[in-house]
């Protein structure tokens, strides 16, 4: 059901959800409960994966634990743990809202919706490039790690941290070089910086003939 709604509605609904979560506390529990209820209903309708959600939630877990420790140290155990639990609930709900949005909306449709809702073209371009090149850099990182392991690397915490620093430095340099080549490719096809980033094309126009909008973007296995 959620997949069939206009992406702009989904973005607006998610935005309202995030505002409600940020305004919600245990005193205003009805705000948090309302968001949780809507998320749960949409989750159930969309049949989303709990495992995928937990993977995203794990990314924010260090932040939750860090703040929890801070609250315990600054407010004492009695008041601190309540604040920590409250924050954990709010962050978890916020992650759930974003998860429902991103799991039911392909990124191109999301970008189009954000463009139609008036997101400045520079931010739109940044989001589009992050989505396009994030996986390219992750691939490069994995290749470097594999190359390291092929040369009899014995992992330990110190070496892992040191190498991660090197890898990130190399990736920054490569990203800079790639950005120059991408810029060259853009102007080679007639783009001019003063034109700004073109507005994303509506998903209904992008969709291949005979396929449903927002259909699966399955990786190609041949060639």
């Amino acid at each position: 059901m959620v997949h069939r709604q206009d992406a702009r509605w989904r973005v607006c609904l998610a935005l309202i959800g995030l505002i409600a979560v940020s305004a919600g506390t245990f005193q205003r529990w009805w705000l948090l409960a309302g968001v949780a209820l809507v998320v749960a209903v949409l989750w159930w309708y969309s049949q989303l994966s709990l495992l995928q959600f937990l993977k995203r939630w794990l990314v924010v877990l260090p932040a939750i634990l860090g703040f929890a420790l801070l609250f315990l140290l600054s407010s004492g155990f009695q008041a601190g743990w309540l604040k920590a639990v409250e924050l954990a609930v709010r962050i978890t709900l916020a992650v759930a809202v974003v998860f429902v949005l991103t799991a039911t909306t392909p990124v191109p449709a999301l970008l189009h919706a954000l463009g139609r809702l008036g997101l400045p073209s520079l931010l739109l371009a940044t989001a589009a490039f992050m989505h396009r090149y994030g996986s390219v850099f992750v691939d490069e990182l994995q290749r470097m790690r594999r190359a390291r392991e092929c040369r009899s690397f014995h992992p330990n915490l110190f070496a892992e941290l040191r190498d991660m620093g090197w890898f990130l430095a190399v990736l920054v340099v490569r990203a800079f070089e790639r950005s120059e080549r991408v810029y060259a490719a853009m102007i080679a096809r007639g783009w001019q910086p003063e034109n700004g980033w073109p507005e994303p094309i509506a998903p209904r126009m992008v969709t291949a003939a005979g396929r449903k909008p927002g259909g699966e973007n399955t990786p190609s296995t041949h060639d």
Binding site: P108, Y133, S135, R178, V182, A184, M205, V206
Partner: protein
């Protein structure tokens, strides 16, 4: 009837910011409809030369000298060094020149930067001033021309390397350029994808300039070869004659293609 001059390069010199010479006094001409290969070892300046054809490099990089490398005597000038159909490649003419010269980059990830395949192929036509609807129609035709119908809403990162290369070519063709400049079009392709790509290039029917290490491809598609090494043009002549010259090939880090060496060229 004599064919018009498609491309003229005259005394083109370019060096990088550290002073390393990339191109040194390059001059040649290409007539309309010719298919020309630029060959040479790594670092010969092939890609740099292609980037000059539609003004991608000189407009952004007027480097001052540094002293890391000895730089031969030359003058910096704003005078045009490249002409496309007699239009000088200078800043004022960039839109026109970029409409005439289509550039295929070596790494498809550099050229495929839009969220979906169709948006990427439509990028050029939209920059040329077509409406979104018209650009989408042109992009669909270009995708069909490279055999990728049905790929419109695919994400570039989910395509194979060969498919990404073909989408890049569709992006170039969508701009309907008179000259197509291809940088290592068959590198990293498996034999089937390479064969598909060669047939696509053969079907282009435009002035074609190919920078490549794939000398068998050169024999198949190009009647003329330019040999570039250390930024200098060492030879310009018929493909079979130059590629069969063992001394020339070895001197510039190349080798005679096996099909020429053993006379095993498959008749077309």
């Amino acid at each position: 009837m004599t064919r018009p001059l498609a491309l003229r390069v005259s005394d083109l010199t370019f060096h990088y910011p550290d002073g390393r010479m990339a191109l040194e006094s390059i001059s040649f001409e290409i007539t309309e409809g010719e298919s020309v290969a630029i060959i040479g070892p790594n670092g010969a300046g092939k890609s740099t030369l292609l980037l000059h054809l539609n003004g991608v490099l000189p407009g952004r990089r007027r480097y001052a000298h540094s002293h890391d490398f000895p730089v031969p005597e030359h003058q910096h000038t704003d005078e045009p060094r490249v002409w496309v159909y007699e239009t000088p490649v200078v800043e004022a003419n960039y839109p026109e020149v970029r409409r005439m010269v289509g550039l295929l980059f070596q790494d498809p990830d550099d050229q495929l930067f839009c969220p979906t395949v169709l948006e990427d192929v439509a990028f050029g036509p939209r920059n040329l001033g077509y409406s979104t609807e018209e650009a989408v129609r042109i992009a669909r035709e270009a995708l069909a021309a490279v055999g990728l119908e049905g790929y419109e809403d695919r994400l570039p990162q989910h395509l194979s390397f060969g498919e990404r290369k073909r989408v890049c070519l569709a992006g170039v063709l969508a701009c309907d350029p008179k000259i197509v400049a291809l940088d290592e079009p068959t590198s990293n392709l498996d034999p089937r994808a390479r064969r598909q790509f060669i047939e696509l290039i053969r079907s282009l029917e435009r002035t074609t300039l190919i920078a490549t290490h794939d000398l068998e491809l050169v024999l198949e598609l190009c009647e003329r070869v330019l040999v570039l090494d250390h930024g200098r043009l060492f030879a310009d002549g018929p493909a079979e004659e130059l590629l069969g010259d063992e001394r020339l090939m070895e001197k510039h880090g190349l080798e005679v293609p096996l099909s020429l060496r053993y006379g095993r060229r498959v008749p077309e």
